[in-house]
Symmetry: C2
């Protein structure tokens, strides 16, 4: 993309309404615009990151064998009356009446609807196991929306639902989700720690939240410091293998890690004192096993191998897609702006032309721009007639991981500068070498 | 995908509620499920086609230089009070009150919101031309929703908005949209004819609707038969070239083609009698130029080259993404089921194993399945233990354009059968030749 043709309305001033750094930087970098309390437009740069995150989630769900679909944003109230949650949910549920005075609601989650789909179409245990998921906009009418997309009212979430014949099979689905979530977050450049949590309005007492440590987190968390040494990495895993998935669960959840909701001082005291940590965390996902909580009242049963109808065992599994942008920025920024992890960056590299209008500098930039695209990379070329300082500040603010700086002085000896956003370090090299280096850096990401 | 692990709940009986063939086939093929009047879940097969259509739209919008973003589904009522449409829109607008009694609405379209974004961020003519678009769920509270996704209440639409300094520049944006829409529909296997139409609640008298001819269309249309001979094909076009785009507009709109709203018997009478046609059409898109209708009341102005503030010239341009599934099926089916055009088919090819459980047949199917995937194709392998007749009927119903049939008799001489869904014709060949043939057929689609 050429910046002269893009829509990237960066702000020079810090917006007053933003209390936390991710909200401030998303507004300043022209990623979002608030339309009313807790409801945002995603401007082009923000939308690009949102799509990258969605794409990672889709890819990792496919790898785990989970099947994508899409449920609508509006739901009939009757489904929620069946489960008993219509009255329970309280004021966070946005209730709507249509022109015929029928009760609808803007879905805050989808246990009822997916259970309805299941009971309409599945009859036999032979069609199990089954895990369906979607990525869809949801609404929770927070009394005090704040922190930008971190606690918005209209938000994008991936939610998946497993249907299994037995508790054991459902717990394997739980483990599959844990593994796929670990992989997903790592691809986004995040360490998200699974912690024992509380079931809340979804239900069930078998649940883990995934938390990213950050000073601005809304939850207080307590953990054994050994847990932050764990990484999933690029290990191969067979998602059908019960033992392999169980081993990952044990590896990542056997050390103490709990949110304040489930924190237990007595157990925590058994962690060696030098490894006890308390910190703040941002919740970016949660997995649940809740057995037959919905299948029983809603009649989601299958005929088992013995010919008897039994309610299916279910769980639900969510990733906060739109809130992840905030969490990633909270964990990746400095005083100059955002520092995107390479897995989610909106553009792979920025090109800064130091002398726009100079024929040979322009030509060099164009050649680099074209060759990066030919390599499958997505560059942002700052082709505006602006001072170098303004171009650098803009690139630092929007946080692309790499920058190529092209000026007439360097070009005289066939050199450009390749700069890493995080370290700030620059290296002179030929355009060809810089392109090869970037292709190499992004190869695992493009092939993932 | 292996069918044994997919969720494809096909129906044996014709659903009673479906009045038109696309609705009936989408229900029978397990593509959608109605959740309440005019609100549907997209089951996995339906969701896949929806994504293919979205992808084509995104690719063609990018080619035209239009910039993707995303506006929320819910909008504050105040924006619509500014334009005067809040009261005008009537009962089709779904109005919502949040917990603080603030008025929201579920957006039926986005002229107001995009104008608000523009006026907040753009100040100078130097930032023009600009075209922003999104693909987002919208809601129109139809009094009598019917025909499945063809006239649903919650529907997915691509809507784009151009901002230009002058009427001439805005008309070039109009032409760019016309060209990109012609390309988009052709990639979906559709002939969509631009016809002079009426501005309706969007406004403006410079507007064309794109119509797909089909017996079940809701509009009566009148046209010169020469128009159905036109195809855009794979001609290269420079979207920045005003003359090139204008020439396409003239080529595709100079012959008589109007909906009943703008039909003029006197002009129609000038078409040679043997070329006059009247038929029914399904509207799958519409483009508008409406000048300063929104920019003036909402204060979306820029400083022009002469230092004076002027309201920008705008247009809006929509493609009915979810309704396109219905339109494509209306135009592509037979008595046995759907016949997907190759550009949008959910899976590229089906594999039918005639003797599931037979070691060598299973192995041959697995090898073909793996090799098709290695070629970048997306096959659906019917690996269920079912009769051949049931497998064939299922494949015909869901409408994949190609089928590979694998049985022990053919394999004895290294032969499988490759069958074209549309023609019904089969050819015996080696698995290797069949894979090469399919890779060749889909190459232009995968590279688009």
């Amino acid at each position: 993309m050429r910046l002269s043709r893009y829509f990237l309305p960066v702000l020079k001033e810090d917006p007053k309404e933003a209390q936390i750094v991710s909200h401030r930087l998303m507004l300043r970098a022209g990623m979002i615009k608030q339309q009313t309390a807790g409801i945002y437009s995603w401007l082009p740069l923000g939308f690009k990151v949102l799509r990258r995150i969605e794409q990672i989630v889709h890819e990792e769900q496919a790898r785990a064998g989970h099947i994508p679909m899409l449920m609508p944003t509006l739901q009939p109230a009757d489904l929620w009356r069946e489960s008993g949650r219509y009255d329970d949910y309280g004021e966070e549920m946005l209730r709507v009446k249509d022109r015929h005075k029928r009760d609808l609601l803007y879905g805050p989650t989808n246990e009822e609807m997916i259970t309805d789909i299941f009971r309409s179409h599945v009859n036999s245990y032979k069609d199990l196991p089954l895990t369906l998921y979607h990525i869809q906009w949801k609404f929770r009418d927070e009394i005090r929306p704040r922190f930008g997309v971190m606690r918005g009212r209209e938000f994008l979430m991936k939610d998946g639902y497993n249907f299994d014949l037995t508790k054991e099979a459902a717990l394997h689905a739980y483990n599959r989700h844990l593994v796929s979530y670990l992989r997903s977050y790592e691809r986004m450049g995040l360490q998200a720690i699974p912690m024992r949590a509380d079931g809340g309005p979804i239900g069930g007492d078998y649940t883990h939240e995934f938390l990213v440590l950050a000073e601005t987190g809304e939850s207080e968390v307590f953990y054994d410091s050994q847990i932050t040494d764990l990484t999933f990495g690029d290990r191969a895993i067979d998602y059908d293998n019960v033992d392999e998935c169980q081993a990952v669960l044990e590896e990542f959840t056997s050390r103490y890690a709990r949110t304040d909701e489930t924190h237990d001082e007595a157990i925590y005291a058994q962690v060696p004192e030098e490894r006890r940590r308390s910190a703040r965390g941002i919740e970016v996902g949660q997995i649940f096993y809740f057995g037959t909580k919905y299948s029983e009242p809603m009649g989601a049963t299958v005929v088992g191998p013995d010919g008897q109808r039994v309610p299916v065992h279910m769980g639900s599994h969510g990733i906060g897609v739109s809130r992840l942008l905030g969490a990633i920025i909270e964990a990746n920024h400095d005083e100059r702006g955002i520092i995107w992890p390479e897995g989610v960056t909106p553009f792979h590299v920025g090109i800064v032309n130091l002398k726009q209008g100079d024929n040979s500098t322009d030509a060099a930039c164009e050649a680099i721009y074209a060759e990066l695209q030919a390599q499958g990379l997505d560059p942002l070329y700052d082709d505006r007639d602006e001072r170098a300082g303004a171009k650098f500040a803009g690139m630092d603010l929007i946080g692309l991981p790499w920058r190529i700086t092209v000026g007439p002085r360097g070009l005289a000896s066939n050199k450009i500068e390749l700069t890493n956003r995080r370290s700030g370090q620059s290296e002179e090299m030929s355009p060809k070498d810089a392109i090869a280096r970037l292709a190499e850096i992004y190869r695992p990401i493009l092939q993932a």
